[in-house]
Amino acid sequence: MSDILDILLAANFWAAALRIATPLIFGVIGALVCERAGVLNLGIEGIFTAGAMAGWMAVWLGAGLWGGVLVAALAGGFFGLIHAILTVPLGLSQHVSGIGVTLFATSLSYFIYRTALPDVSSPPRIEAFKPLDIPVLSDLPFIGPALFQQTALTFLALAVVAVTAFVLYRTPLGLAIRAVGDNPSAVESQGLSVYGLRIGAVVAGSALMALGGAFLTMSAFDAFFFGMVNGRGWICIALTVFASWRPGKALLGALLFGAFDAFQVRLQTEVGSFIPGQVFLMMPYLLSIAALVLVARKADYPRALLVPYFRGQR
């Protein structure tokens, strides 16, 4: 019991929780923006991969770290645009189109990586983002190491939550995005473009998802591996439901998830010899399913989610 308390009270535990949560924060906020506008984006898993690969490769080619972040966001926006065109004006199945985008983005990323680097045995490394060492703040006991020894991308993720919350709830644009996911014909009657709002939201949301992928290759690790996204995108889709499509709760959900994951990794070192490692590796996925089951009954889906909108039709 005291072992568990020791884990929870260690500053590096909370630092790890925030680090694990960062890509999920980007992913959940990205998925939330898409879904609030009425479009489920199952391209997320592939967009994570594309962001991870494109960001890493841009840095590897000499674009600089922030150049890499920009390239990752553009790559995400590109795949988001494909999904948006297929699902918004063409009104195709959001499920199947999303899976298609995931397959396309993943295979294209792998193909480009393999074509650019045909025969490397160990993946080449880049100079990744370093933890920001902020004078005074980083030296605070407990809070310092947990919060202020993260990389710039973690702070960007926190800023994205704040900006998204502000835009969604405090600006006319946010009102329009929320309305287009609930009642698109009402938006149309206000003279706003349903297609424009939905496409814009999906592209922006997808760019955010790609930043989650970029965090993996440019901050958590410093290289690109095949299969490195490993279901994080799907976990984000589950967390979006868990967060009832609210940015604040999304942050909370991602942090909770990060804390659980960091906790089980530490627990593993305590009891690892008794329980096979795979049991611990399963935890994130089982936890996501549990989170879905927990909120299923009261989940308040955006009312026009999955429903295509055609002008002049009821």
Binding site: H95, V96, F104, L108, F111, T115, M282, S288, L292, G312
Partner: protein, 360 residues
């Protein structure tokens, strides 16, 4: 301004023409990445064609690759018909393979005519049971099955790894995490001497016919189609919607489980954690190319298999990455989605004035 006008049920020729056009478009688009990789495009297409059809061996390899794709394609096609979004065929395939290995490696000693049906049944049952979980979560608690089936794929693969490194590890496997070999009496028979093509293909073809008859000729099939068209209307019409979802989930999972049985008991002879290079996900592409038609699934699976086998062979000859095959398959899915519009709608380019008239 583009407008879509609903079309009457499409003619058979159009039903066939549209996916064929999509396949051709996907193959043509493959020229872009091949050019990017510096290949002579015409030579590359030629190598792909001979790789899939150039010899009897190539052709049987293509059929061998198509076998699991037919089954995972049927799993997706049947589930999608009912709008039950089973994206978990990959996990169900592994569950079927695991069950086949569990009963087929020496726990039970019986002659072939007992053991083979038993292995096949257990594999199908395991796949079906894996899909039962997400289906019940959907019908009982309203949990979205897309995400649960996707997440379960990862859980099951880890479970398989755990079993292969633990209780089901082959003590004679030189330390590799692989299962004991399937008994000869439990192995599906080979269909041709010196080729890898195996009895799983027969199972797959019978399954395709079975799913076709199920959908076309039975009450269950009618109920499945009705639920897929409009679950609420079906409920009001007195169709047992929940029971239909559960039936579809069980059968769909079982079909994917059979794909796993074929791969271990017909092809590999033992189970490893890299048994499937994404057959579950490719099955979705197969089902969509087939327009969710069970007979079409067979044709679509042959097409996707020839891309995989052809691109593999081309990749060995030229050194270009064989992720090209996955890329072509992904592009085929997107093309067939778009071309499906031409089936359901007349696409008309109209002036602004027309749309205003229509909006009244």
């Amino acid at each position: 301004m583009i407008r879509f006008e609903p079309r009457e049920p499409a003619s058979l020729s159009r039903l066939i023409l549209v996916p064929v056009a999509a396949a051709v478009v996907a193959l043509a688009l493959a020229a872009i990445p091949m050019g990017f990789a510096g290949l002579n495009i015409f030579k590359a297409y030629g190598l792909m064609a001979t790789g899939a059809f150039g010899s009897l061996f190539a052709f049987t390899e293509m059929l061998t690759r198509a076998t699991p794709l037919i089954l995972t394609g049927l799993a997706a096609a049947l589930a999608f018909r009912a709008k039950l979004w089973n994206i978990g065929a990959e996990g169900q395939l592994y569950a079927g393979a695991l069950a086949a290995v569990a009963v087929g490696t020496g726990v039970i000693d019986a002659p072939s005519f007992v053991l083979i049906p038993l292995v096949v049944f257990c594999g199908a049952l395991a796949g079906g049971l894996v899909m039962l979980g997400p289906t019940l979560l959907k019908t009982r608690l309203g949990v979205d099955e897309v995400v649960t089936t996707l997440l379960l794929n990862f859980v099951i693969l880890l479970f398989v790894q755990m079993m292969l490194e633990g209780p089901m590890k082959d003590p004679m496997g030189m330390g590799w995490p692989q299962s004991e070999p399937i008994l000869d009496a439990a192995a599906l028979p080979k269909l041709m001497a010196r080729m890898r093509i195996h009895g799983g293909l027969i199972i797959a073809l019978v399954a395709a016919l079975g799913v076709y008859l199920l959908l076309k000729r039975t009450v269950w099939g009618f109920e499945i189609r009705a639920v897929g068209e409009n679950a609420n209307a079906a409920r009001h019409a007195g169709i047992p919607v929940t029971a239909t979802f559960i039936r579809v989930g069980l059968i769909s999972g079982a079909l994917a489980g059979l794909a796993g049985v074929g791969e271990v008991a017909g092809l590999k002879g033992y189970l490893t954690a890299d048994l499937s290079p994404g057959f579950g996900y490719s099955g979705i592409v197969v089902a969509m190319l087939a327009g969710l038609n069970p007979i079409g699934v067979v044709v679509a699976a042959l097409f996707i298999a020839s891309i995989f086998v052809g691109a593999d062979s081309m990749s060995r000859a030229t050194g270009v990455s064989n992720y090209l095959a996955d890329l072509i398959v992904a592009m085929a899915l997107i093309s067939v989605l778009v071309s499906g519009l031409f089936l359901r709608f007349k696409v008309r380019f109209v002036g602004q004035r027309h749309t205003e008239g229509a909006a009244k």
